[in-house]
């Protein structure tokens, strides 16, 4: 009769396999943290995104002190003042201690999840001190806050981009594989065309076909469209290949013998069987979209100031002076690295956990 293994639902089997890989779990954990931070950026960031303080350009990260005169007094920062505006050097004003306050009321109102208006922010310090956890940029904007706001753009572009590519790729690839003949021929030549042009040139060429000065929300859409346009091709080819093999399966014949029509067979019987592979392929493809946005913004033709994105935050780190004396400007790059790595770890873990030979429960 039914054994313990057999009683598990596919999700339970998936979870059992997935949690065997600590690296994949770490990847998933990091991504959950970062996406959570992006959602609650307003709360977590001490500064609103565009706020600047021109007197404090290129301020190094502010150290947070816990002890004063050998006694524990709780987290506080020391106020600082500009010494040399040319080299952007600062010195702390000794004795001017400013405690880090939690749940402070910010100056600007925002809405949590776009619904509940509030001014509360997780932490902040009173003027004239500045709390630059990750330093500040040329205009004295807080890198930490902008990193959080920028993650909204950079991280969501990956998900939306892959979602669009996924839809187009699955649909086109599925039809191509199932219908075959002329449709297949045309579609496959188109995908080859897209894939044969080096991605960066294609991105730049496509970017050139849109106007250069557009509001950042529309720019966001343009970038998503460009990246999805490039990305669907490889997914479509994967799907087509799988459909070609799946359509010869007996259960597809069985479904036809039951009287199911073409679309029903494709969408209900063939494509669901490609999902486990596609989820993995999509997960591993997300970093490509994130890097695509970063590339465009880094080159100054993507997300425009004052809107923050991880790519345009790195634009400032292009010259050697900044790299040498303001290494904190590279922090967005570090986060890009972490996200790309996390997606790849997650993808690997999913690939192992969704492997159908394992899912059968021991029988290989």
């Amino acid at each position: 009769m039914t054994t313990a293994v057999n009683d598990r639902s596919p999700w339970q089997i998936f979870w059992r396999e997935f949690k065997k890989s600590p690296v994949a779990l770490a990847g998933a954990g990091i991504l959950i943290l970062l996406y959570g931070a992006a959602i609650f950026a307003d709360f977590l960031a001490p500064w609103p995104m565009p706020q600047q303080d021109l007197d404090f350009g290129y301020h190094p990260p502010t150290p947070v002190h816990w002890f004063a005169d050998g006694r524990f007094v709780g987290p506080h920062v020391l106020a600082s003042e500009l010494v040399d505006i040319g080299r952007s050097t600062y010195r702390t004003i000794p004795g001017e201690r400013h405690p880090v306050r939690f749940f402070v009321q910010g100056r600007q109102e925002y809405r949590v999840l776009g619904l509940f208006p509030t001014r509360t922010r997780l932490f902040g310090v009173d003027p004239p001190a500045h709390l630059y956890l990750f330093g500040s940029d040329k205009y004295g904007r807080d890198t930490y806050s902008r990193l959080l706001y920028g993650s909204r753009v950079s991280l969501s572009i990956g998900l939306i981009g892959i979602a669009i590519s996924f839809l187009i790729g699955t649909l086109v690839g599925g039809l191509s594989g199932y219908l075959g003949k002329g449709f297949d021929l045309v579609v496959m030549r188109v995908t080859e065309l897209i894939m044969s042009v080096p991605a960066l040139y294609l991105i730049l060429a496509l970017r050139a076909s849109f106007p250069s000065n557009v509001p950042s929300d529309r720019m966001y859409l343009i970038i998503v469209v460009i990246l999805a346009f490039i990305g669907w091709a490889s997914l479509a080819r994967i799907v087509r290949g799988m459909v070609l093999s799946l359509r010869e399966q007996e259960y597809v014949n069985a479904a036809r013998a039951l009287g199911a029509g073409t679309l029903r067979i494709l969408f209900r019987h063939i494509l669901p069987n490609t999902m486990s592979f596609l989820i993995v392929a999509a997960t591993i493809a997300v970093p490509g979209y994130i890097l695509g946005e970063v590339t465009l913004s880094f080159l100054g033709i993507g997300i425009q100031e004052p809107q923050a994105s991880w790519g345009n935050m790195l634009t400032e780190a292009q010259n050697i002076r900044v790299l040498k004396s303001m290494p904190w400007m590279l922090i967005p790059g570090f986060f890009i690295f972490i996200v790309v790595l996390a997606y790849n770890f997650l993808g690997d873990g999913l690939a192992d956990a969704l492997n159908p030979r394992k899912v059968t429960g021991g029988k290989s």
Binding site: E250, Y251, N253, L258
Partner: protein, 341 residues
Amino acid sequence: MTEAFVLEVRDLRTHFVTDDATVKAVDGVSFAVRAGETLGIVGESGCGKSVTSLSILRLIPSPPGKIVGGEILFKGTNLLSLPDPAMRKIRGNDISMIFQEPMTSLNPVYTCGDQIMEAVILHQKVGKAEARTRAIEMLRLVGIPSPEQRVDEYPHQLSGGMRQRVMIAMALSCQPEVLIADEPTTALDVTIQAQILELLNRLQREMGMAILLITHDLGVVAETCNRVAVMYAGQVVEYAGVEDIFARPRMPYTVGLLGSIPKLGEERERLRVIPGNVPNPSEFPSGCKFHPRCPVAIDRCKVENPPLTTIRPGHEVRCWRSGEAEAGTLDMGKAFEEVTS
């Protein structure tokens, strides 16, 4: 007489056109079944029996396959002239099919219940809840224990015999009038085979459908069929009642097939076989397609393909020498023994 036939195949021709050659996989096959009757289609691998069954449901992959001639009459309607949507209504509802491989014939991503419900929802105007009740009923009917629980299980959680039962439940969920069973027991072990055949027999008695049983196993035929069509190289070579086939075979090929069944208590070094191989379907020999392997072939067999002739009421044979065998002047069985021993 004719109107009693539920399914009648007349001179069916299914060819596969490739760049190199035209393969006449089915070349003029005719047979008919009545309600409640089981017709066995027997033959070696590659003789066209599966193509015949797929042709009935018009499931031949096209290209390269094409039904180039003949008629398939389901209660008087020619299925070959039906438009596609009408044909889809017939599939699974009036004529359904069980496939050979229970391991791969169920979609791994859906529960058994979902797959049985699919046929019901496709063909009958019922809601999900009712379709589910129906699926559970069908599972019980095909003898699956605790169907309320099994209905939510996935194919990989079931054994081969269970899966074949689920396939049968799927095929029968809309109470079809014709069931095509393409080697339903080939992939199962012998005890399960017997159970599945017994199940099919019982369901046939209860539901009164006609069964087209495609098999290469003469034991299965003897147990379940009323009439038998023996196929060789895309043609029916002998068509008779099951008793006649076993007691009075008149086509050398049938004789050879029966002779190759090992008999209990018989001591032999090697099993008896029909010498030679099934001819390559793209280059069939001229004349009677069996003549290169036939121990009693005469010169006429090499040039002229014999027609299917009635030698006794209800017994048709495609052989120039069937008359001699019927008259008792030719012992085909003995001829085989001489070439094989």
